[in-house]
Symmetry: none
C-alpha cells in the first residue's frame, strides 16, 4: 500500500473561474516545485481541450511531464458550459458529443502516461426521468469503458451530489458499477461532496473497498484540508485499513477568483504530507 | 424611444451551475408567461450549443419563438469551461476555434430572428501581455464583425471586469470599438459588474451614448434588481435622457444552485416594469 | 381545486425536543383557534403513541375533533429514537415492528376521520446496501398499503433527504410509487427539504402531478414560510396550474426548544392565507 | 480510586439524528479500537430496543463484549420520540410503559455484565404541576430501583436541564435521591448541561460526593472536551480529591448529522487520556 499526493490543476486553469490562469507548462512546473508526485489535469482551456490541442503541443507536454518526473495521476474532463458534456442529456447529439469527447480523453490519458480517467455520470433536467437518465449514463459509460480497455485506461466514476443528480452517493456508485459491468470501471470520491452532504468519509472508503482507486481531497467549501471540518486523519486511517494504493489528489481552492494557486498547493502539502507519511510508514 | 424587458436564459440553463435546468422549449414558454417581450439566449447546453443542435431543432425553436411571439433580444455565447472560447488565448488553435464559434453564433442569431450577438473580448493569462491580448481580441472581433455584416447582425461588446481582464471599463469598450473600426460593432454593459466595481451606472449610459444598444440588468451579487444597492431608477432616467432604444435583459439569479428561476423572472418583472412603463410614458 | 391550510402538531409535542409540550386536547383547540381547517397529528408522546393510547381517550379525541370541526389532514408516525421505526432496518424484528406500528396508525387514521397516512421509507445504515434497503422499504410499504385499502386510507410517501438516505428526491418517490404498485400509494413533499437540497419546489409539483396529494410547508431552517428563501408564491402558482386539491400542512418551528408554538401557528397563517385565498379565487 | 474512560454509543446510533448509523457490533469494535476501557450503550435502534432484540442477538452481543474485553460502563434508555418514555407523563399508560421499559433495561444491563442504568426523571408538560410530576417521577424511580436490587443494578439519576424541567440541578438530584430513599439509587451529571447552564463542574463533584458514580463528558454545544469552554482539568482534580471511582463516559458529537464518530472517539481520547492518567498516577 502506498498513499501518494497529487495536485489538481483547476486552481491554475480558466475553469470554473477564468482567472487566475496559467499555461499547463507553467502549472506542471509549479506543482512539481510544490513537492507533489502526481498531477491531475482538468481538461479545460488553456490547459487542454482536445479540439484545440495541436500534435506538437501534445508531444511537448508529454516530454515536459517526463522531464519533470511528474506522474499523470488522472485526467478529468470539464462539464457544463457551452458543450455540457452531459452523458445523460435528453439531447441525443449531446450524448454522442460527450461519448466522443470522453474517447478523445481516453487517448490523451494514455498518451500522457496516465491510466485513470475520471468520469461524471451527468445530470437529468426537468422533463426527463432519473431512470431514463441513469440508462443513458450507463450506456455511455459502458461504451467509453470498452473503448478504454484497448488503451489500458480505467474509467473512474465520481459522485457529485452538490452539482448533479444522478450518481450522488457511494451506493449510487456501487450500483452504476454493477449496472455497467465492465472490468475497467472503478470508483473514487471527492471529500468536499461527502462533507457537504453530511456523510462520513471513512464509510465511503470501507464500502468502496478495492474499487476505490482515486480521491479528490478538499475540506468543506473547497478549503484546503485542515482548514474546515473534515477529519482527514480518520480518512487516512481508513485508507490504510483497506490497503488503498493510489493518489490523493488535492482538488480545492478554485471556486472563486482571488485565491493564489501556489498558496493552495503549498498549504495542502503541509497538512497532508505528515498524515500520509505516517500511514505509509506503518 | 422604447425600453423593452427581456429575460436571460441562464437561470433556466445548465450554465454555470448544472441545476436546475430546463429545456429551451420550456424556458421560452416560462419567460413568455412571466410577461417579457424578449428573450436573451445563452448558448450553453441543454439550450443550444451549435455543434449539437440538429437542423430540425433549429427550425422548431424558431417556430416556437414565433408562436409564442417572443423576440430574440440577443444571443450570448458561453465562455470558460472546456473550450474556453477566449478570443485572446495564447493558444492559436483556441483563438481560431473561438472565431469559428462566434461565426456559428452569428448565423444562429439571424436564423432565430435576432440582430444582436453579445461578444466578450476574452482574458489574458499569466505569461501573456495585455497589449498582445488586446490585439488578438481586436483581430477576432473585427473578423467576426465583418462576417456578421452579411447576416444583418450587430456585435455588441460587453465589459466583464469581475471575471476577465482585457475590456474592463466603459473606456476600454470605447477604445476597442474605435480600434476595431467596423460599423456593426456596438456596446452594452452589465449593471452587476458596474455596481460591483463601485462605478456609476448612469455614467456608462451617458458616455456610451448612441453606441449603447443593450443592457444586462442585475443588482450586486447577481440579485434581482431592487434587492441590492443598485439605483435602477437613475439608470432608467439616464436611458430616457439618451433616447435608448433596446432591451433591458435581466441577467441575474443564476450564480448558485437553489434559486427558483420562475422566482427570478417574476421578481425582476415586478420591480422593473413600473420603472420602464413610467419612462416609456413620458 | 381547493388549497386548504393545516397545522402540524410537532411544535406542540414532545418530539423531537421534549419541551415545550401540550396535551393533544389543548393542541387541537389552539390550532383551531389559529384559523386552520385541518390538523396533521404527529404520533408521538404525549399526543399519541398507539401502545399507550386508551380506548377512552381514542374516543374522546375523535369527539373533540368533531366538536371543534377540525379535519384530520394527515397522520405522521415518529421515526428514530428508541424504536427506530425504520422499515429498512437490517434488524428483521425492527422491520416487523415498524410494519405493525404503521398498521396501528392506519386504523387510528381511519378512526379519527382521516384518509392519509404519511410514510417515510426509512434509512440504511453502514453495512447494508441501498438496493437491499430499497427492497425492504418497498416490501413494507406494499404490505402497509394493502392493509390500508380496507380502511380507506392512502399511504403518502415523503422524501426526507436531509435526514435519511433511501428516498431522497422527487424521482426516488416516483420510482418507489412505481415499484410498490399499489393504487392507494400517493406522494407528498416537504418544502424544507427541497429548499435545503437546493432544488426547485415547483419542479416537484409539476413532476408529481396527480400523485401529489399533501404538502409539508416550511421555509429553510424550519422557519415559518416567508421568513427564509423559499418562493411560496411560485409554489402556489404551480399547485393551481396542476389542480392540486389537498392540504398545505405547516410543519415548522419545532426544531429547537425556545420557540412559541402559537407564534408559529399565527405567523404561518398570516403569510400563507393570502396566497392560498388568491389561488382559490381564480 | 481509578478514573476510567468510556465512550457513549450515540454518535454511532440512529438517535437523535438517523445518520450516520452503525450496527452495535461494529460500534463495539470501533470503540475498543479507539482505546476505551468501557462502553455506554444508548438503548435506541439499531443498537438495542428491547422489544426488537432477539434472544440470539442478546447472547451474541454479550459474547462480543467479552471477546473484545470492553466493559459495559452503563446503559441509557432513549427518551422522547414516539413512546416518550417519560416517567412523569400525565398519561398513566405512558408512565406504566416507561416503568416497564426501565425494568427491561435493568435486566439487559445485568445480562451484559453492567451494573449501572442511567435514569432520567422525565419532564412535565403544560397543564401539569411540577410537584405532581415530581411525585410521579419519584414513584417510578422507587419502583424501578426496587426491581433493580434483585439484579445487582444501580439506578443513576441524571439532571438534564437543557432538555427537561423536573430534575435540573445538583440540588434537585440530592432531593430526589432523598425522596426515593432506596439504597441503590446514585447520581451522575453531564458536563454539557452544567457548562450550558453556566454552573461549575467541580461544584457538582464536591456536592454529590460519594453519591457520584458516573459522568457524561462533553464540552459546550456537544463538542468533544477541550474544544469548548469547559475546564476539564479542574473537573479531574475534583474527582481525584473526592476519590471518584468510575467511568468518564464521553457523550458528545451526536447532535447533528455530519460528524464522523471515529473523529469524536479519537479526539476525546487524545484530550482526556493524559488528564486521567496523570490523576490516576498520583
Amino acid at each position: 500500500m502506498t498513499l501518494k499526493l497529487a495536485f489538481h490543476t483547476w486552481p491554475y486553469a480558466s475553469n470554473p473561474t477564468w482567472l487566475p490562469a496559467y499555461t499547463l507548462e507553467e502549472t506542471i512546473k509549479r506543482i512539481k516545485r510544490a513537492g507533489y508526485e502526481g498531477i491531475e489535469i482538468g481538461a479545460a482551456s488553456p490547459h487542454v481541450f482536445p479540439p484545440t490541442l495541436s500534435a506538437q503541443r501534445r508531444k511537448d507536454i508529454r516530454q515536459l511531464l517526463e522531464d519533470e518526473d511528474l506522474k499523470l495521476a488522472a485526467m478529468l474532463p470539464a462539464h457544463g458550459g457551452g458543450p455540457g458534456n452531459n452523458v445523460a442529456s435528453p439531447i441525443p447529439e449531446e450524448r454522442q458529443w460527450s461519448i466522443d469527447h470522453y474517447k478523445d480523453m481516453v487517448k490523451l490519458t494514455a498518451d500522457w502516461g496516465g491510466k485513470r480517467l475520471v468520469c461524471l455520470p451527468g445530470w437529468f433536467i426537468f422533463g426527463t426521468t432519473q431512470r431514463q437518465a441513469w440508462e443513458w449514463a450507463r450506456y455511455a459509460i459502458a461504451e467509453i469503458a470498452r473503448f478504454a480497455q484497448d488503451h489500458g485506461v480505467e474509467i473512474v466514476i465520481e459522485p457529485t451530489p452538490e452539482d448533479s443528480n444522478i450518481v450522488n452517493t457511494c451506493e449510487d456508485c456501487m450500483n452504476m458499477l454493477e449496472d455497467v459491468g465492465e472490468p475497467n470501471v472503478r470508483l473514487m470520491f471527492d471529500t468536499h461532496h461527502v462533507i457537504t452532504m453530511n456523510e462520513v468519509m471513512s464509510d465511503y472508503v470501507y464500502r468502496m473497498g478495492k474499487n476505490l482507486v482515486h480521491l479528490h481531497i478538499s475540506d468543506d467549501h473547497r478549503l484546503p484540508p485542515g482548514q474546515g471540518r473534515g477529519d482527514f486523519k480518520a480518512l487516512v486511517d481508513a485508507l490504510r485499513d483497506t490497503d488503498f494504493d493510489g493518489y490523493l489528489s488535492m482538488e480545492c481552492g478554485f471556486h472563486r477568483r482571488g485565491i493564489e494557486p501556489d498558496y493552495v498547493a503549498r498549504t495542502c502539502m503541509e497538512y497532508m504530507k505528515p498524515l500520509v507519511d505516517a500511514a505509509n510508514a506503518r
